[in-house]
Amino acid sequence: MKTILCVVALLVSSSLILVAQQNSDYATVQLFQTTAQSISKNVDKANSVQECAELNASIDALEKEFSDNKTLLNKAIYPDGYDRTIEQLRGKLLVRQKDLGFIESQVIRITELETTVRGLSDQVQKLDIQNEKLLADIQMLTRNVQKLTGDLFNAATPLDSLHNMIVKLRQGLQDRDALIFALTDSLFLQYDKNVSDMKDVEKQGLLGKIERNNIVGNVKHSILDNVTFLETTQLKGSDLVTLVRQQKRFQSQWTGIAPKLTSIYMSGKARKYEVSTVDSMLAVWGDKVDDAMWRSLNVLFKEKGFFVKEFKNGEEFSANFISFLSEQIQNPTEETNDTRFKLFTNFHENLWLTDLNATWLPALTELSKISDTQRKEIEAKVEKWRSIVTPGASWLIYVLVLLGVLLIPILAIRLFPKAPKTSKEASST
């Protein structure tokens, strides 16, 4: 396994070495030959279907990595060159697979997963670079703007270029998170069985892949990036709700893989703590994102001029908001109807329709911060407040009653017309 790691390390570092060497043809040829030799030695040692698949993917990677130097390699390596070297490696691996009795289709399937893993790993690295640059740009731009305008301006200020960068970074972080979990899934899928059913050799193989792809490190990196993003951008409203959703999704995905990782890490004490470290970091991220969410909602009430008692969780929010609504309904300060109507209109048009009912209540319910019952209670209170303060509600009722009163005799006349005259009355006339 260590030697396979070396092959991959050689391939991964090849581009860096070539850059460092300013494209020395000699270095390119040396690297190709060293990697090919290393793969060849590993083929001799391969014992599991995963190892064969991994070597298959390594040959693919070697072929792809050096395809631009095909002409040079064909000239410089006598007599095999690029084409025959690759061909020989494939042939050797095929013979080894047959010797071990592995089914070709099984190797191909795992090779595909391994190739997916490598592709995803490359994408994660690219996103790392892109996200780091975006975060640095956002921090710099925010600092510059704050320098110019004081505290009036921050990352939450609607500034097109800054907002675009924030959106891009948020998308980048989301994509990275998704890639890491997809990568992890692809790793476990290669073994096609539960960790508990794996042989020690398979566990070691999987552990090697997990470490090589730095799964736990990448998860930690994601959490730290997301926390930094949260702290840097100070997002509000629906943007913040998106972040909360992202945190919950991340947590749920981590909950899915953490037990598997724990089983794989059973052998090493130090590694076992890795999983619990991620749990703690995830909890910190969850707390921070929750704090930011409640803070944002508290600020929203204040900014719109509604004095709801401060809350720090769903229960407090529900209780304090309902208490506020009850107070408006009961009107203990005996405000005039006109004042109450204006207050309600302001609440309804600038807070309820735009933010609370549109974004926050559905999100809080979805995130299980408040229950459906609590949401319905809030909605009922708002409705009651409306019915009480809406002017014309009373006179409308009076009009309706009056109309009713007028309609009854009319209907009665129509339904029960005058009785026909009797014969006596008729003869007298």
Binding site: Q21, Q22, D25, Y26, A27, K75
Partner: protein
């Protein structure tokens, strides 16, 4: 008249037999450089291109030291015309040699930098030889020197 034709034909055959035979065009370019360590006797040996020669004189010319010569790594490449370009890390020059009977003869000594070349490497870029010099831009060389327009 017949005698003149016979004489003319005979002299043509004699002259043709005496003139040197030339094979052109030829391409002696190596696809990649040879990297060889100098041994304690001042010799280098290459197993890919199958040659060996003594480089004591070259090392003395460059370093003025003919004692500490072993373990110097020389980089050698041959251009399409058959000239050998030789240099090493910290060398100021690239030496251009042509083949003579049983050895090499200096054809040109190209000064690249007074500070010494950092991690040099040759690439075959026919009709030129490309010299990589650390982080500096690559230089194109011919047996006459650095290609015009290239940084010295």
């Amino acid at each position: 008249m017949k005698a003149i034709i016979i004489l003319y034909s005979f002299s043509f055959l004699v002259l043709a037999g005496c003139s040197s035979l030339t094979l052109r065009p030829g391409d002696f370019a190596w696809p990649i450089e040879s990297v060889s360590k100098v041994n304690e006797k001042g010799m280098i040996e290459d197993k890919q291109y199958y040659f060996s020669f003594n480089v004591k004189e070259l090392l003395y010319d460059e370093t003025q030291d003919s004692v500490n010569i072993s373990n110097v790594t020389l980089r050698i490449i041959r251009d399409m015309n058959g000239y050998y370009f030789i240099t090493a890390s910290k060398f100021k020059n690239v030496y251009v040699f042509e083949q003579i009977e049983g050895g090499l003869k200096l054809a040109n000594k190209i000064l690249v930098t007074q500070d010494g070349i950092e991690n040099p490497a040759f690439n075959q870029r026919s009709p030129y030889i490309q010299l990589l010099n650390g982080q500096n831009p690559p230089i194109s060389l011919t047996k006459e020197g650095i290609l015009k327009g290239e940084n010295k």
